[in-house]
Symmetry: C2
Subunit: 395 residues, 2 copies
Amino acid sequence: MKKIMKQDQDVTKQHNKQMILDIIKKQRPISRAEIAKITRMSATSIGRFVSELCEEGLIRETELTSSGVGRKAIMLDIEPGAIYTIGVDMAKKRISFGIMDFSEAIIAQHRMDHKTQDSTPEETAELICNEMEGMLKQTGIPLEKVVGIGIGMPGVINYERGIVQLSTTLEWKDVAFASLIEKRLQIKTVIDNDLKVKILSEYLYGSAKGSNKTALIGIGTGIGSALIINGEVFRGGSNSAGELGHTTLDPNGNLCECGKRGCLQTYIDENSLIMEARRVKDVSDVRQVFAAARNEERWAKEIVSRTALYLGITINNIVCMYNPDTVIVSGDLVENYREIIDLVEEHSDQVIWEPFKGKFRVIPSELKGEAIVMGAGALAMQHFAPLAGTWAEES
Amino acid sequence: MKKIMKQDQDVTKQHNKQMILDIIKKQRPISRAEIAKITRMSATSIGRFVSELCEEGLIRETELTSSGVGRKAIMLDIEPGAIYTIGVDMAKKRISFGIMDFSEAIIAQHRMDHKTQDSTPEETAELICNEMEGMLKQTGIPLEKVVGIGIGMPGVINYERGIVQLSTTLEWKDVAFASLIEKRLQIKTVIDNDLKVKILSEYLYGSAKGSNKTALIGIGTGIGSALIINGEVFRGGSNSAGELGHTTLDPNGNLCECGKRGCLQTYIDENSLIMEARRVKDVSDVRQVFAAARNEERWAKEIVSRTALYLGITINNIVCMYNPDTVIVSGDLVENYREIIDLVEEHSDQVIWEPFKGKFRVIPSELKGEAIVMGAGALAMQHFAPLAGTWAEES
């Protein structure tokens, strides 16, 4: 059943104030008159909301020469230093950090090597908190200006409760990670699956800008997917939608680390490439396979071609299930070896279902390594920035 | 970007009026006092909206002995005869009709044999219109009380524009079917993919009531799926999400009617069972295969078992992609041969990804043959009933 919520003056007021802040954020700098044109609200109402937002320190007035007539106009802009969030990208072997200001720019970055598997979750949380404190000290940002922390990590994440349900990459099960950070720093923290954070990022800042129906495939040590529709990340019943890697292709196929047979990831992720290569040559990483393929060695070319074929199948299957207008392919494997994407094109006639041909575009990730840090910062902004949630309550 | 829409008094008023109508519809009969308790609106406001709804003929007052105190109370109820919609289910060999009243009860039904493939779309539209006129005449419902028609049909349907983009079952391509009906009867018409209509129906009236994250698998002459989240049918970019049947399992697998190899439906739909059986015995339909299996013939048991295995894989793949809390299995194949669902249970350890085990339930369709007629009537109600769209505009 849809929302049962009375709409009264307070709700309406909050809605309109949030809308004005949103317009300033997206079209800054902008004049009061332009806001009036967009919203069709009265000058008096706009004036009142703008004053409130100025008093709260979220926006400021700037003087700009407007392009048309040459005379000076008072414009409104976000106050970038009003608040901050910190975005964190936890990967298998490294953790990346970024401080995001209210204008959603990353103003400081930091990266460190860390094998999460070798530490307890408590140790990792302590380490992350120390690093963040160090970054804030260096940049001179007081702790109380940080309204929230967002963390993207691989695995099945209970994002509402802040629990890592299962992460085979981090080797964690049922870890209440968000509260470890919150307790230590007294800053609200949201954690989420890395690919869900990544697609949010591509939607806000990268390849998927302007597309409201975008799917993302991430290929590296595993394979997964995510989807964003009308600005909302598609989560399914318990935030686990998009677990593409464990869809079954062949009930008698390759054995997967999950214990099932024939999971898609056993045909396409980095491990599967290495396993396949070792039938012929003793390779230690995927780089050697691609080097051999570039060197025209037939066994390696066959492996690369087969990977492209299965990437094509993956794209077909995700398009059949989600019907997006854009598919972003991302992850170490495709970002380091672009030739795979070119090869997918060659297979597309064979693997894409006819009615979908020409109905979507396949593009590489634009943000690459930055995507998760930026998306995690944005996620924290959506959750914890002032006035945030006004919209969420309504929908 | 999210909605930019000023909220003013008119919007607020429409919202609250629709909310009250909605509450009466779902909890009828209900008193003004109970509505006040739910909405926390003032008695004056509720009184005003109720008067308007009574004047418009959408609701009526009834006198009921309230259970608690024994004295009579004035209750509010929907006026079932205020308006009607007609729901139509177009299948390969038959067309079913149902007239739905404002209380969303089907008050008249009708079914006819018709092979759509043997007629032009114009002929089929004419036939459907004649049948509907006949039903209205019989029931004494004037044409002008019918606010809309909803039609569910197999295929890729452009539901916003009323166009059948591709239906291999009906053998139609790019047919503007909704406008054929609209022109002939002057009644607004919405068409949609049959499984999307079916899941709406199961959500409103059947197995999925109370579940906000339900997927549906339909298996018969083909295989497809649908998903409903928070009361909204998941449509994807162009209403083609859920095309499960053409996800690829094996690039070297069975040839599919679509021209690709190894599509899921070539392993599990009725055709594939018959093709497989014919390697051993000259069967003409799927009934013979199940009869032989029930008769303990080994070849037939193997086919049924394999079908159950692939149904298990289908369920795993849909759960991985959509992460629903409920999966409804529907369609002639599973509705006529329930033993398949029991067999799926046996395979589930082998085919369901560990983190999802125990996190969802698999249930058969409750409405069966009625589902699409009811869902199509409801779809028309959602689109064309008075005050409908008030919510839609906001979200």
